[in-house]
């Protein structure tokens, strides 16, 4: 099981990062939607903290993931992929990464503005330099929520594209990103 990417598949670490973030985002969204509808209570405050910890972890993992990506070959699109699809894939991956970085940042800054600064895992205080500000907190909350919506839409398109490759094109694109080491089809075995 190669750690690093090869020209035709993602290595173990790249796949681990991808699916770890997938799981973290399920946690983050579940907490976000649940806490939003709760009246201010102990449970709500706890969920806020958990949501922030999960989100901050996403940020950390994305940074590590991008660092790893820089030092690895990125598997190429299957031969014959039309240019617009390569462009769409590149653009959507870029946007996914960008949102995964910007969302935690807006959440972090907003939290300090709401007088509930991030204390990572309840241990490491990470106050933002901007301090309290109710008006700006509301604007950032809108930004944070809108980015969340955008992220969900992108993930939807992303999953559809993956399924399109797997079910319609029957190529290796999904296989090479699966969390377990899936056997790749060798070129020419497609029917």
């Amino acid at each position: 099981m190669p750690f690093r990417n090869t020209p035709d598949r993602f290595g173990f670490l790249a796949r681990l990062f991808h699916w770890l973030i997938f799981l973290l985002l399920i946690g983050s969204f579940t907490l976000a939607w649940t806490m939003h509808d709760l009246p201010l209570s102990l449970l709500k405050l706890q969920m806020y903290s958990w949501h922030k910890w999960v989100g901050a972890t996403v940020f950390l993992v994305v940074i590590l993931r991008l660092g790893w990506r820089l030092t690895n070959p990125v598997p190429a699109a299957p031969a014959g992929t039309p240019g617009w699809q390569r462009l769409a894939a590149g653009l959507s991956h870029f946007l996914l990464y960008a949102i995964l970085i910007v969302m935690p940042l807006t959440g972090w800054i907003m939290s300090s503005m709401k007088n509930l600064p991030l204390v990572y895992l309840g241990v490491i205080p990470i106050p933002s330099p901007f301090g309290k500000n109710e008006q700006w907190a509301e604007i950032l909350e809108e930004v944070h929520e809108t980015l969340g919506l955008l992220l969900l839409i992108l993930i939807g398109v992303h999953v559809l594209a993956a399924l399109y490759h797997h079910v319609i094109l029957r190529d290796n694109v999904l296989r090479r990103m699966l969390p377990w080491p899936a056997r790749l089809k060798s070129p020419g075995t497609e029917t």
């Binding site: 102990l42 709401k114 509930l116 991030l118 241990v123």
Partner: protein, 201 residues
């Protein structure tokens, strides 16, 4: 006759003294001079923690009657009345929760009160106030260490007082029901006092 007169006078004098002494009492010290608080430069801040996340706020309205003289601690006294509804955290949900019956219950307990009539000099600009704090009708004794710096400015004395003390919120019944859970919301609340007061020379 003369002796009798003198004796009667002496007795009357002693008698008068005997009446006068208990009337003035042992606190013969004169009241220390009164100071006027500058509300703009003064604040009472509190910092609580939930899940180790610090959230702070200030009481925007309070009145204080301060008589203080470092050279006349026996005649010094402080009496501060705090408007509990003026607690401001910069977070509307939090402010509303603090006002509610779960916390300050401002409808029933519109004020909190801090009184101190006994002070100790701790050397230099350091002092301690032996005080009583009353919140939600519950009084607790506490010792507030503070520093005091007096300067002269434009024909006035300007005093800067700053002190910090930890209190246990649950002892005052702050945070009821679920909110009494000190595992999530720390029992300890830090109170940070910064007062600027003036008086004519």
């Amino acid at each position: 006759m003369k002796r009798g007169y003198f004796r009667r006078c002496a007795m009357a004098g002693l008698g008068a003294l005997a009446i006068v002494i208990p009337a003035t009492g042992p606190a013969a010290a004169a009241d220390a001079p009164e100071w006027t608080v500058d509300p703009k430069a003064s604040f009472i801040k509190f910092t609580g923690r939930q899940m180790n996340v610090p959230s702070d706020g200030t009481f925007r309205k309070f009145t204080a009657r301060i008589r203080f003289d470092p050279a006349n601690l026996a005649g010094s006294s402080v009496d501060v009345t705090i408007d509990t509804a003026s607690a401001h955290t910069g977070n509307k949900d939090m402010d509303a929760t603090l006002e509610s019956e779960m916390f300050f219950e401002v409808k029933r307990h519109p004020t909190a009160r801090f009184t101190a009539a006994s002070f100790r000099a701790k050397g230099g600009n350091k002092f301690e106030a032996v005080a009583k704090l009353t919140i939600r009708g519950i009084s607790q004794d506490l010792v507030l260490p503070f520093t005091l710096d007096i300067a002269e400015q434009g024909g006035q004395f300007v005093a800067k007082v700053s002190g910090k003390v930890d209190v246990s919120r649950t002892k005052f019944g702050i945070g009821r029901g679920d909110w009494s859970n000190t595992g999530v919301i720390a029992d300890k609340v830090v109170i940070d006092i910064n007062v600027v007061a003036r008086r004519q020379k």
